[in-house]
């Protein structure tokens, strides 16, 4: 069976490809701008690109909602929203690299500045996708409050192409803050970084972002009007001792843009996100250091963002995560399965998979042992 690389520009076009895949028992992998390669994992057979299925369907600025086709660059959405004083509060990642809306939702990865208002799952309110039976399914709606039907828009956040082809998403948006300021400081040790993070969490300041970077520097960002930002800076000054850089304007924007567009240090590096609590940081930091895995602790210690190089680090990561009862998700690159570590998710997701992709034309949920049928 020869490889295919389709770029449909209509719902019917996507449905035809799914029908063909079903008829020929072939796997399909969804692709946007390929900023998160191997998001869907597996030996790529038929690649279905959403690039031609793009455009803003509807922007109701006064209602604070926007509906967008999956192949639309996130950067374009941000520009349109910004022109109306609005923004996507979950700090989409890889936007500068051309990431698409579909991939952004499918990865479920949020940037550091999601801390204040929430992640992508908190802002998706409607969706359309093609499932593994070729059904074009709509769920949710276009209003910010809606309790009708199952919340499939939320479910698609982080679904990594395993359950269907995302075609369109509707988001709730917020007013864009007028001003940002930030700081980056270098505590004396990794332990002091964690303690400083704790003090900042308890400072009662509404941070937009709180990070422990790979080199154990601590970075924080806040927003509001200029007066409010200055007042917050005054509150923070006594907390941070040692070498501290205070940033505003373009310096602030550039600093956080780099974190929201995490590249890989080397070609072939993979990026893994691991939901954690702050309590995990000491043990996790220790184990990852021993395994030589680069890491950043994001979202005030609720997320570890890791860079993995090679099979040995992959095995070490799997071992560490199982030991700490954590689950990681490959966001860039990775093996065929996209989740690693603890497998408590498996029973529930397998059932959903059997409903939305019973013939398994999309990538599997997990790797299998010889003779095991892939879920």
């Amino acid at each position: 069976m020869s490889d295919r690389n389709d770029q449909p520009d209509s719902v019917a076009g996507f449905q035809q490809i799914v029908e063909c895949a079903r008829k020929n028992c072939h796997r399909i992998v969804v692709s946007g701008a390929r900023t998160k390669q191997r998001l869907a994992g597996g030996q790529p057979a038929w690649i279905v690109s959403t690039k031609k299925y793009c455009g803003i369907v509807e922007h109701q600025a006064s209602d604070f909602t926007i509906s967008v086709r999956a192949g639309t660059p996130v950067r374009k959405v941000s520009e349109v929203l910004s022109s109306q004083g609005q923004f996507l509060p979950f700090d989409p990642v890889f936007a500068d690299s051309g990431a698409t809306v579909g991939g952004m939702v499918a990865s479920g990865m949020n940037g550091p500045c999601r801390l204040r208002f929430g992640g992508v799952r908190d802002f998706v309110i409607g969706c359309q996708f093609i499932d593994g039976l070729g059904r074009a399914v709509r769920a949710g709606g276009k209003v910010v409050k809606n309790a009708a039907g199952f919340d499939l828009p939320k479910f698609l956040a982080g679904s990594a192409g395993r359950f269907g082809i995302i075609l369109e998403m509707t988001f709730k948006v917020f007013p864009k803050p007028p001003c940002y300021q930030s700081l980056c400081t270098r505590p004396e040790s990794a332990g002091e970084s964690a303690r400083l993070l704790g003090r900042m969490v308890h400072s009662r300041i509404d941070f937009d972002a709180l990070e422990i970077l790979e080199d154990h520097r601590v970075a924080a960002r806040w927003s509001g009007d200029a007066q409010v930002c200055d007042a917050i800076r005054q509150q923070l000054a006594p907390l941070v001792t040692g070498q501290t850089e205070w940033m505003t304007g373009s310096a602030d924007a550039a600093f956080w843009s780099e974190l929201s567009n995490p590249g890989t240090a080397l070609p072939g590096d993979w990026i893994v996100k691991v939901p954690i609590s702050r309590a995990h940081i000491p043990a996790l930091d220790h184990h990852l250091f021993q395994a030589g895995i680069a890491r950043r602790f994001s979202v005030a210690g609720n997320l570890a963002v890791l860079r993995i190089s090679g099979a040995e680090q992959l095995e070490s990561l799997e071992r560490i995560l199982v030991q700490l009862h954590l689950t990681g998700q490959f966001v860039v690159g990775g093996p065929e399965h996209f989740l690693t570590g603890a497998t408590t998710w498996r029973p529930f997701l397998q059932r959903i998979k059997s409903a939305l992709d019973p013939e398994r034309i999309f990538a599997p949920l997990s790797a299998c042992s010889p003779g095991e049928v892939m879920p």
Binding site: G149, D206, A279
Partner: protein, 485 residues
């Protein structure tokens, strides 16, 4: 007990649950025949009252073994018939699983059992400087398990979102008895948002045994304003001005004249005289943010020409304003023997159009409608007043309710903003979703519950409704066990 159930199966149930925790006699069953939507009533085979998670699991597994449907129930406050029993099934009453298992102030999480009262979470978290944000009007009574099942909202959804935005992890028993864990205590997730899918699934995916909730720091500063307007249109315009200014209030609520009349009679709140509507605006956040925003808000509101504007000067005054607002649903019982409350949503910018349409439709139907709504997110709660003892009024009220929902969907809205579909609105699902959409959702339901044992007959259209056309008293009132006064 009905003849259709096997005696042997029920003997097994009596062995699982000790004496007094399987209720099967008429008087006991009456208390569970309806929920907050008293128009529907159904007598179950029995009520079981587990005291532990293991007993909940045993009950579900018993149901699976014997193919007996079940409805898990908290306080039965559902306004959509979501916890209505089924005639050939049992109710699993979760009220005794009401413990807050753990509060972790450092992580800002609380892990609770499903029968925990919503407000109890905030009461337990408050000493740590934290609270639980979702605040449905029934929060003194409703349970977290029920909130999870129906993705409950409340007045502060505009800024803080609904229940789904505050549930981090779940331990669930699926309808076949398998126990699964989804999510964790982290704000972030790996893989698809299974927690988000479970929340709002209306009990069709099984029973939540433990729920890990996100807690927020108590706002340092709260600024609550109540402004009275001559017309509801003026109140709506004030909302538009606030939104256009780029503010993100914690709450934006409007009550119309009839709602004000009801609340005034029920609670000790002083509303401005001679107004057709009041607007309640609340800002909350850090002292730094609010110090600047409250001046901006007050100045903006003054420009909208309110008849009177009151700023809550202390916690007691703030609580009074909210007591009035949250009393409306029960307070309209003083104005009318019966009422139907709707829960539809329109895009916020269509609020004015929707309210005009409701007024017109109400006049045509010859019925009064009190309006109270979450103005910031377009979630309407028209309370249709009627007297079920007057021939034809129930039917006119129901027809008006359906027409209002249809109108809202036609304006791009939803059939339900926070009460869920339940029994009441399942016939309206095709107004929002195509056959394909509903089929896809149904296939998910069947993958999780192939025998349709868990809260059957809810959410999906089709099938006979249980006893309808009751008006007036709750079944327990009819037996003399309960009085509204």
């Amino acid at each position: 007990m009905k003849q259709s159930a096997t005696d042997e199966a029920f003997q097994e149930l009596y062995r699982i649950f000790s004496s007094g925790r399987v209720l099967d006699s008429g008087g006991c069953l009456a208390a569970f025949q309806s929920d907050g939507l008293t128009a529907f009533s159904e007598r179950p085979l029995a009520i079981v009252i587990p005291q532990t998670e293991d007993e909940v699991v045993e009950a579900v597994r018993w149901c699976h073994r014997h193919r007996i449907p079940f409805v898990a129930r908290g306080s039965g406050t559902s306004l959509s018939g979501g916890s209505l029993p089924c005639a050939n099934g049992i109710v699993i009453a979760l009220n005794r699983l009401n413990r807050i298992l753990e509060i972790r102030p450092e992580e800002r999480t609380a892990t609770v059992q499903p029968g925990t009262i919503n407000l109890a979470v905030t009461q337990a978290a408050r000493p740590h400087g934290l609270y639980y944000a979702p605040d449905p009007s029934s929060q003194q009574v409703c349970t977290i398990g029920g909130n999870v099942a129906f993705n409950s909202g409340g007045a502060h959804c505009l800024k803080y979102g609904m229940t789904a935005n505050h549930v981090l992890g779940l331990r669930v028993v699926l309808p076949d008895g398998e126990i699964v864990q989804t999510g964790s205590s982290s704000l972030e997730m790996a893989g698809p948002d299974s927690v988000g899918l479970f929340v709002g699934s209306e009990g069709l995916f099984g029973v939540a045994l433990q729920i890990t909730l996100r807690l927020l720091p108590l706002p340092q500063s709260v600024h609550t304003v109540m402004a009275g307007y001559r017309t509801i249109e003026q109140a709506g315009e004030a909302v538009s001005q606030i939104i256009a200014d780029g503010m993100l209030p914690a709450a934006l609520e409007i009550m119309d004249a009839l709602a004000i009349e009801a609340a005034s009679a029920a609670v000790d709140v002083k509303y401005p005289a001679g107004v057709e509507a009041v607007l309640i605006v609340e800002l909350d956040g850090t002292e730094t943010h609010i110090a600047q925003e409250k001046t901006r808000l007050d100045r903006l509101l003054q420009l909208t020409s309110p008849v009177e504007m009151t700023v809550a000067g202390c916690d007691a005054e703030r609580a009074s304003i909210w007591r009035g607002r949250k009393s409306v649903f029960s307070a309209v019982g003083r104005l009318s023997p019966d009422f139907i409350v709707q829960d539809s949503v329109v895009p916020r910018t269509k609020l004015g159009e929707a309210l005009r349409a409701i007024k017109s439709m109400a006049m045509e139907a010859g019925l009064r409608v009190a309006n109270v709504f979450h103005a910031g997110d377009g979630n309407l709660h028209p309370l249709i007043l009627f007297d079920g003892n007057v021939p034809g009024e129930l039917e006119r009220a129901e027809s008006l309710a359906s027409a209002i929902v249809g109108m809202c969907v036609g304006l791009g809205g939803s059939i339900t903003g926070e009460h869920g579909v339940g029994m009441e609105k399942r016939h309206l699902m095709p107004a929002m979703f195509s056959e394909t959409d509903i089929a896809a959702m149904h296939s998910i339901r069947m993958a999780i519950d192939p025998h349709e044992l868990s809260n059957p007959g809810k959410m999906f259209p089709g099938g006979e409704a249980p006893s309808l056309a009751l008006s007036g008293l709750h079944p327990l009132e009819k037996t003399g066990g309960l009085s509204r006064e």
